[in-house]
Symmetry: C2
Subunit: 305 residues, 2 copies
């Protein structure tokens, strides 16, 4: 498989597979979600279980054209709808879970339920996103802009594993993973920079398989060869990072919000950790971003354990 370098290649790859993933959507009552679902139906790479107020089908007549791939399950109470969606995933009747306009905390409550939820005991819950940036020549994955405020070493290692697994689904055989900091210097003033030393040692010992991991690096040195050259930094990443692991949620989030706004980047993102991909868009995500997130979920549930 050739590496997928942008979202157009992602969706055309999915179309070429000629299969449909089954997506359980909780409370899809907003126009951005409806746009994303309709576009996926037109492309033909998923079908939908719409759990919530089934008046939605009347509200969005476009969905009716695809009625054989749109199944409405009428449950008015959002919490009940969330429980039903989770049940469908556990029963093997849905491959992917997606949030509509239900409150994030309410959906997470159902996902994280220890008895009937979707997160296996001991698994780390985190967020992995991928950006298509007009000024970068390939997709750029990053973690974590949304869930873990200050990851521990063990959580960072899990974040890296999720990123490796996902980038392999995108056809990147040897992902280049940059551990982000504000300089290239390790310092005890910044505990995450000490974590990075540990992680690079693990990578050099072959712990993560065929990957390139280096850090601390700043965002420019990770993504632009010239910056490293000027600073005299020799890194195997060579300014061509596929993945950025951020030190904390504030830096990941500032990166994501700034790039999406000022560099006109498009984003897809998924929760990592649950037994199926979870599309959990934030309210200000664009309709396109919801569409690409569904596509990312369809690609990566392929090889889900």
């Amino acid at each position: 498989m050739e590496p997928i370098r942008n979202f157009a290649q992602l969706t055309s790859h999915l179309k070429s597979l000629n299969t449909r993933k089954r997506i359980a959507v909780v409370c899809a009552n907003d126009s951005n979600t409806e746009y994303a679902i309709t576009r996926v139906l037109n492309e033909g790479f998923a079908e939908f279980l719409m759990i919530g107020d089934s008046a939605i089908l009347k509200k969005y007549p476009e969905l009716k054209k695809h009625s054989q791939y749109v199944h409405a399950i009428h449950i008015e109470d959002p919490d009940e709808a969330a429980l039903e969606a989770v049940r469908l995933v556990r029963a093997g009747e849905a491959d992917i879970l997606m949030k509509g306009i239900i409150n994030t905390d309410n959906l997470l409550h159902a996902i994280l339920d220890k008895e009937k939820g979707l997160l296996p005991a001991g698994k780390v819950l985190t967020h992995l996103a991928v950006m298509q940036i007009p000024t970068y020549d390939k997709l750029l994955f990053f973690s974590d802009a949304a869930v873990i405020p200050r990851p521990t070493l063990q959580q960072r290692i899990e974040m890296i594993w999720y990123a490796i697994r996902t980038s392999r689904c995108f056809g990147i055989q040897q992902p280049r993973i940059a551990l982000i900091h504000c300089t290239e210097k390790v310092s005890p003033k910044f505990p995450h920079s000490l974590d990075y030393v540990n992680i690079v040692e693990l990578a050099e010992a072959g712990e993560f398989g065929d990957v390139i991991i280096d850090g601390p690096l700043d965002v420019r040195t990770a993504c632009e060869r010239e910056s490293g050259e000027i600073k005299g930094i020799v890194s195997p990443i060579n300014g061509q990072a596929d993945v950025l692991i951020f030190p904390n949620i504030e830096s990941g989030n500032a990166f994501y919000k700034a790039i999406s706004l000022f560099a006109k980047a498009e984003m897809a993102g998924l929760l990592q950790g649950p037994i199926c991909p979870v599309v959990l868009p934030s309210r200000s995500d664009s309709a396109l971003s919801k569409y690409y997130s569904i596509a990312m979920a369809c690609l990566t549930c392929e090889k889900m354990i």
Copy 2:
């Protein structure tokens, strides 16, 4: 004075003043610094005291054309050169200090000397930068991407004061200052969000004068009205921030590196706290960025206390 909205307006304003600031440059032996100095000399808004190896004047013949505004002080040892530059500022013979290729730590050592340095006792040393982003309709100031890892409440307040003072020099009468976080929610899990509550209260009590301060806000909500509307956030910033105060150095730095690389933004930056503006470019800053930083220094030393 009309607000200065981009770097072209900044330099044409400086030219219109018809005065020259005196800049002491320590070890200006690199081509980016030489470009910046030559361009300033051509524009005519500063003169230079070049402290270091005076062979520089032979190396860069362009400087000779402006020989009446370029004064070489031959001191080969970089640490001695730094001490002399600091002495010149203290003696009132230079208005601005600029770093050439001397190591940052060595220059800071001279600046921070308690007896003979430039930082008054009790003043907070921090970094304030300003970006010209092609996709934003005015200049955007931000702090701190370079000096203070995790500011205290008192340091945040000082960062805000520096930003207010500087934005006033740029003609912004009522600066809009956004206190950045990854969401709009205050939470004890994020101590900086509690600081923000304090700061907004101080601002509402009139402590900072005629400014608009709000937070926590994320970068998008601070800089794009539509994002706030979608999320139902009502903020007096109204998506038109002039200043972003970042929660920590990692987020400020990720913002700065990402925007300069992916959104093709140009940047100027200065140390804040010393008795004169200090231009302290990092190695990977562009020649243009050094030029704009000198211009920012010339504008803001005008009203220096």
